[in-house]
């Protein structure tokens, strides 16, 4: 089940040098991310711009932001990680510490209430309930 070793780093050219128009090698996702989400934004005095269009509909949000997927997969700490979100490190560290304590407490509770009550406890455990398949 383990993936084959990959040569490193995997380099993909964003364009093929010397072949005008031959830029199909750049992945569409990478291009969309750049042209929709980066680059100079000019406001005012404009007939149309992306900000007017409310482009970031739910569909595109899903494509561009991965946070929802991460949450679905049970890694919501991602959202609080300052390094991934640019937020505050201490808050995230505290958050992790609290989550660890919470998990420990939940486990203690689960073990104590194991006799005949595990079903109920499972309901009360958001993680277990959310990620049960």
């Amino acid at each position: 089940m383990s993936a084959p070793a990959r040569s490193s780093p995997y380099l993909r050219q964003s364009s093929i040098p010397g072949t005008p128009g031959g830029r199909e090698s750049a992945n569409l996702g990478d291009i969309l991310e750049r042209v929709l989400d980066r680059g100079v934004v000019i406001a005012g005095d404009i007939r149309v711009n992306l900000l007017d269009i409310e482009l970031l509909t739910i569909k595109l949000r899903l494509l561009i932001a991965s946070v929802d997927t991460a949450r679905e997969m049970g890694i919501d700490w991602w959202e609080h990680d300052p390094w991934l979100t640019g937020g505050h490190r201490e808050l995230a560290d505290e958050n992790r510490r609290l989550r660890r304590r919470l998990t420990a407490l939940e486990e203690t509770l689960a073990l104590r209430g194991g006799e005949g009550r595990s079903g109920r406890i499972r309901e009360r455990s958001p993680e277990a309930a959310e990620h049960a398949e």
Partner: protein, 261 residues
């Protein structure tokens, strides 16, 4: 200019003789023009408002095949320009009423554009992504000693699985942070972007690093070598580039507006 046409702006660069490559086409296959003003040049196309008017765009931006063609047309102009001159790419579908407004833009934001262009001159953007290898539960997690109580055993398995998966992600994120710091020793500037959804990245593994790095052209090989030495430890790295400096051309005062969706 006919009133049923708009001015579609791709990028701003320094005004030089070769500012507009011969025969270059942009969105909808339209020819690209150059307008020079006070040492700057704007690359643009005259676009039919039937296709690029606001009302129509509201619908066509939802059409992925139209969006793809337009994004590629836009990107093609930006990249062609960036291979020759320092370039400030403008966001997709920035449409003006007329060339006069472009001139006014180059007037009013001249200092900002000059600063941005000198910052990116002789440098390229390199995209680095790191993916965490998928979590696979260890065999020991599958069965515990308390199988006589299936409910509890199930709960413990779930917890072990979640803990294992979370530990894998944490390790991968720590590793990705290390990768970022190592790359910053070579790059002039770095930006961490939101990690891409697997639908967008086209890979099943979750992305733990989606970075853009502004690198001096004569240090590009060194950058690639440094990255090459960082692959592994549960993380696979990918390098894509060089790109036009899409991530490093926010104008002063526009950054906040640009960040809000």
């Amino acid at each position: 200019m006919p009133s049923d046409e708009g001015v579609y702006l791709y990028a701003v660069t320094r005004a030089e003789d070769q500012a507009c490559p011969e025969g270059l086409t942009g969105v909808s296959g339209l020819p690209v023009r150059s307008l020079a003003h006070r040492g700057l040049a704007a690359l643009y196309s005259l676009v039919p408002l039937a296709e690029f008017g606001e009302e129509r765009l509201r619908r066509s931006m939802e059409d992925l095949s139209w969006l793809e063609a337009t994004a590629r047309g836009h990107h093609q102009v930006v990249e062609a320009l960036a291979r020759m001159l320092p370039t400030a790419p403008v966001r997709l579908v920035t449409v003006y009423h007329g060339e006069d407004q472009l001139r006014r833009l180059l007037d009013e934001r001249r200092d900002d554009f000059v600063a941005v262009l000198s910052h990116v001159a002789g440098r390229s953007e390199w995209a680095v992504k790191a993916y965490a290898e998928p979590y696979e539960s260890a065999p020991g997690e599958e069965s515990g000693p308390e199988d006589d109580r299936p409910g509890l055993a199930y709960l413990k398995r779930r917890r072990a699985g979640l803990r294992g998966r979370e530990a894998v992600w944490r390790r991968a994120a720590a590793r990705a942070e290390f990768v970022h710091e190592a790359l910053m020793s070579v790059a002039v500037e770095g930006r961490l972007h939101r990690a891409q959804d697997p639908q967008l990245s086209g890979r099943e593994e979750l992305m733990v690093l989606n970075g853009a790095y502004l690198v001096d052209e004569d240090r590009a090989d060194e950058f690639s070598r440094v990255l090459g030495g960082l692959d592994g430890d549960g993380v696979t790295v990918e390098l894509v580039g060089p790109w036009a400096p899409y991530s490093f051309t926010a104008l002063e005062g526009e950054a906040a507006r640009g960040a809000a969706p």
